[in-house]
Amino acid sequence: MSIARDIMTIVGVSAGVFFFLAGTIGLLRFPDTLTRLHALTKADNLGLGLVVLGLLPQAGSVRDGLKLISIWMFALLAGATVSQLIARTARQRGPFT
């Protein structure tokens, strides 16, 4: 049983790291503010979700697992709302101010 859980952790965390990497490559390669914001908030939140998914089998209790999931929910909520606000501010001011 423990091997199955470890495999799930390895797969989940590896996939999470991959999406963090994808997000950062987007940051480096995309040309302007809005596309970079897109790369950052979407890919990183997915990466965090996969890391949480990978860590769930290692959680000691149901309570710890629920805490992990609620942290991801907060990050999702924050990412979604704040990226909206930043994007509107960036568009209003123009890309180079």
């Binding site: 790291v17 990497l21 950062t24 290692q58 942290i71 709302t81 930043i86 509107r88 501010t89 890309p95």
Partner: protein, 91 residues
């Protein structure tokens, strides 16, 4: 298992550093503001993994605080020190 998770922490940190370099270079304030957002997600991932690696389960509570409060810097940015927020609403 521990080695794998520690390696993953190191990798995410290195990715975070790379992202920080790209973000802080600018050109605009909006780009720089993404730093808080980047640490808000990658930093939380690092903390969660650290909690699993080092057996400090309370690291998860720090991640909880970060998840709640990492947005505040960005809110301060969009408010520009003013009381009105004119970039809100439909549009």
């Amino acid at each position: 298992m521990t080695e794998f998770l520690t390696g993953a922490v190191g990798l995410i940190l290195a990715i975070l550093a790379l992202g920080l370099v790209s973000i802080l270079r600018g050109p605009g304030d909006a780009d720089r503001m993404m730093a808080a957002q980047l640490i808000g997600t990658a930093g939380i991932a690092v903390l969660l993994l650290l909690g699993a690696v080092t057996g400090v389960p309370t690291a998860v509570d720090v991640a909880l605080i970060l998840a709640l409060l990492a947005t505040f810097a960005s809110i301060a940015f969009v408010k520009k020190g003013l009381s009105r927020l004119d970039t809100d609403g439909p549009g």
